[in-house]
């Protein structure tokens, strides 16, 4: 059985872009191990030769005309949703 350490949880948090407080990490170590322990039962199932199911419609390669759909939303409305904007662009802190 896979056991997740505190370091593993920190690593998962980093992969998930979550900056967690220390006490939250402690609880998540327990919770994630409990959940992974529970789902471990799937290894008992014989799935040799079974295809995975990723979607449950019978739809395949649904297409539409290559024309612009009017969603009724303007650039100004969308930009206004951003917490910070400047010159018609979304503003963010420095990347590096």
């Amino acid at each position: 059985m896979t056991v997740i350490s505190r370091d593993d949880v920190q690593h998962l948090a980093q992969l998930s872009s979550l900056q967690l407080a220390d006490d939250e990490v402690t609880n998540l170590v327990t919770d994630i191990n409990d959940i992974l322990g529970y789902v471990e039962q799937l290894s008992q199932l014989d799935t040799a030769g079974v295809e995975p199911t990723y979607q449950v419609t019978d739809l395949e390669n649904v297409g539409r005309d290559d024309t612009v759909i009017d969603y009724g939303v303007s650039r100004e409305q969308l930009l206004a949703l951003a917490p910070a904007q400047q010159d018609n662009q979304v503003k963010v802190p420095k990347v590096l």
Binding site: A13, Q19, D34, V39, L42, Q55, T57, L59, L81, P83
Partner: protein
């Protein structure tokens, strides 16, 4: 209880309907079922109905949407700090279609944040109380929508159901809850959770009302390419002598005895009108929750990556770098259950674990679907309880995520297979708590399931 037909046959104006619904909201504030009201827009639309400018099959009928539907007139929070002040510039297709028939949205209902949970206790703004017993949970994640329907504030309300989020609260509050065939209703304008099982459905007092609402919302939408052509047929005659399979694995000693009793009572009612009910085996049932808690967190981790503090929603303050902005925004904007699911998703999708967890779960899902297909060769409908227990106490399961997840053990399997499943009121326990039974059918049998449920309502 006031049905849609009661509304349509009353002599009151649309404004009176909306004002009365808003008064009922005020009288039921202690349940904390609603996060916001769309009062101004609702009254304007009511006046337009009264002037004859808006007409349709639901003209002047008030309803409520779960607060993960984008709708005009109030913010869409998904019961999270992340979207606390998010005012959408567009509406969900489901809301648009109801409005096109004259329905009037009066408010937005509480939920578990981002629809992650089974009790509405994960709302960032506090839990909703059960409509029948305020010491119990509303169920979830669409708890608020179930409670406003049960309290007769509105004749119907919208919810989303990914693994039981409509059916379980419907059962806990004694109303009809519809989780349609996957792809029935467009999800455009609804906050995404797990895209391979997310569906949109409704709460209502009767199966007939629920059918009408689903018929209006159903159908293809070029803005959600997973939608199916509308297959709904209203007032389809109920087939006599249907073969109904009562799922044996859902009636074990682990299930509350009164829940089993009410389910057996329902089976008797079906037999009394000439249907055949037999016990059937679905051994994959016991593994379904494990599949679900691999597949759904994987999809959640992907769908919730969009909440980055850049384009909309919360942005953490006092940060110097972009990485810090992401990390702090997401830490502050998500509740613990959101974080758990995102991190489990990151784990099962990571190289080294992908095959053992994610791929294995998707293969197991095929086995589950095969098992259903086999049963539907012989049976028209499958029957089980909705949840192993009636509504549990507030705070009772919050410390143990697995215990909370187990409340979904019977609702998750149809979701993984994309099947329609209805939560139908089936009486109460000795303590007066509602119990729901679940009717499950092959894909696109939604109208037939509701017809069957409706035919038994008439018996009562």
């Amino acid at each position: 209880m006031t049905t849609i037909s009661d509304f349509l046959h009353s002599n009151k104006t649309a404004r009176q309907h909306v004002e009365e619904a808003l008064e009922k909201v005020a009288a039921n504030e202690r349940y904390h079922a609603l996060l916001s009201l769309t009062r101004e827009r609702a009254l304007e639309r009511a006046d337009a109905v009264d002037r004859g400018e808006i007409t349709g099959r639901l003209a002047g009928i008030p309803f409520v949407v779960k607060d993960n539907f984008l709708a005009f007139g109030a913010p869409t929070t998904a019961a999270s700090k992340m979207l606390e002040n998010f005012v959408a510039p567009l509406q969900a297709t489901a809301v648009e279609r109801l409005e096109a028939e004259g329905a009037i949205c009066i408010g937005k209902a509480n939920l578990d944040a981002f629809a992650h949970g089974g009790s509405t206790e994960n709302s960032a703004f506090g839990p909703t109380l059960n409509a029948i017993d305020t010491t119990k949970v509303a169920g979830g994640s669409s708890g608020g929508s179930a409670v406003v329907t049960a309290l007769d504030v509105v004749p119907f309300a919208l919810g989303t159901d990914t693994g039981g989020s409509i059916r379980q609260p419907a059962s806990f509050n004694g109303v009809v809850g519809v989780k349609p065939t996957y792809g029935t209703v467009s999800r455009y304008g609804v906050v995404a959770m797990a895209s391979s099982t997310d569906t949109i459905g409704c709460f209502a007092h009767t199966a007939a009302d629920a059918s009408l609402i689903m018929d209006i919302m159903a159908g293809q939408d070029e803005r959600d390419m997973t939608t199916l052509p509308n297959f709904f047929t209203l007032s389809e005659p109920v087939k006599a002598g249907q073969k109904i399979g009562l799922i044996r694995e859902s009636m074990t000693d682990d299930v509350d005895s009164e829940v089993r009793d009410r389910t057996n009572d329902y089976a008797e009612k079906l037999r009394a009108v000439g249907h055949i009910v037999e016990e059937v085996d679905l051994p994959m049932l016991k593994h379904s929750l494990a599949m679900y808690y691999v597949i759904v967190p994987a999809e959640v981790s992907s769908n919730l990556a969009r909440y980055d503090g850049i384009r909309y929603g919360l942005r953490a303050e006092g940060v110097k770098t972009l990485a810090e902005l992401y990390g702090k925004t997401r830490d502050q904007g998500f509740v613990t259950e959101n974080k758990r699911r995102i991190m489990i998703g990151s784990f099962v999708l990571s190289s080294g674990y992908f095959d053992a967890y994610y791929l294995q779960a998707q293969k197991a899902r095929t086995l589950l679907i095969n098992a259903y297909n086999e049963l539907f060769k012989t049976y028209d409908v499958l029957l089980s309880p909705v949840s192993p227990t009636p509504a549990f106490g507030l705070g009772e399961n919050t410390a143990d995520p697995i215990k909370m997840y187990l409340a979904d053990i019977m609702t998750v399997p149809p979701s993984l297979a994309g099947l329609p499943a209805m939560s139908i009121p089936a009486g109460v326990t000795s303590a007066g708590l509602p119990v729901g039974v679940q009717l499950i059918g092959p894909r696109k049998s939604d109208a037939a399931l509701l017809g069957l449920a409706g035919s038994l309502e008439d018996q009562a």
